[in-house]
Symmetry: C2
Subunit: 174 residues, 2 copies
Amino acid sequence: MWMTGLSGAGKSTLSTAIAARLAAQRPVELLDGDDVRTFLSAGLTFSRADRDTNVHRIGYVARLLAKHGVLVFVAAISPYAETRAQLRELSTAAGHAFVEVFVHAPLATVIERDVKGLYRRAQAGEIERFTGISDPYEPPASPDVEVRTDRDSRDACEAQITAALAARGLIAAA
Amino acid sequence: MWMTGLSGAGKSTLSTAIAARLAAQRPVELLDGDDVRTFLSAGLTFSRADRDTNVHRIGYVARLLAKHGVLVFVAAISPYAETRAQLRELSTAAGHAFVEVFVHAPLATVIERDVKGLYRRAQAGEIERFTGISDPYEPPASPDVEVRTDRDSRDACEAQITAALAARGLIAAA
């Protein structure tokens, strides 16, 4: 489950909640972009090349886990459509389902939320290359799932995602 | 199973053979230092700091896999005793057994074998910071298992390692 979207859109929140709920049913792991960056990608910048390297490392680890039957949620901005397409190819080639989940909240909404205060700092020029402000985000053209966290309740978004898992036989139907 | 030793000592060979044999019995994964470097640590040098970063990344991935019941073989030179001790602590703290396997062949032997031609190049000064030639290797003071690949047959070395696994309940006794 590749959760892509702007910072603050709800990728980690949704992934954490769903992963926790599914853990009783099947092996599940959450690879959170921020955490993973600390462990796998310290020193990388937010240039396109380094963002791609970071995301490919997460993909590599996700495939290793999937190979052993683990359902993996990746919560990472992963702003580039081409890179996400590469990850889909690599995953599919390895025999694993790749489900692109667009965790969608409009930029105005995440700026308004600004849970971590990062947008304010980015707008003030204190953070370089901040996705949505000073760095691009390419929304998925045809995501497998799209949840609108600005309009729909968290429960409704979770239900959409678990329905997509069930439809693919990755979890038991509710 | 943390396989440490000089380049050419037999870490990958032994790990590959044992992992292949155990795969029918339980989930098993091999993280080979050379492969992993490509995926997780491109751009890192062979300085102490970068070697440590590389090895810690492998350890992070190994713990993720172990968390889901996978028996992980890591085949990585991992030349620094203190770093291996840290990895043991991290692994133990996460509730996973950490078995340090010293894949031991004397330097003279691996230079003589020189399977990949690397020792010749390192001795000619064509490779910088090559472990054993121009960079240190700190042998384990008290490894959990020590196999002597210069003296003992491959079968005997494999048997020693699988016995250590069985003794820890990580595989069924032979």
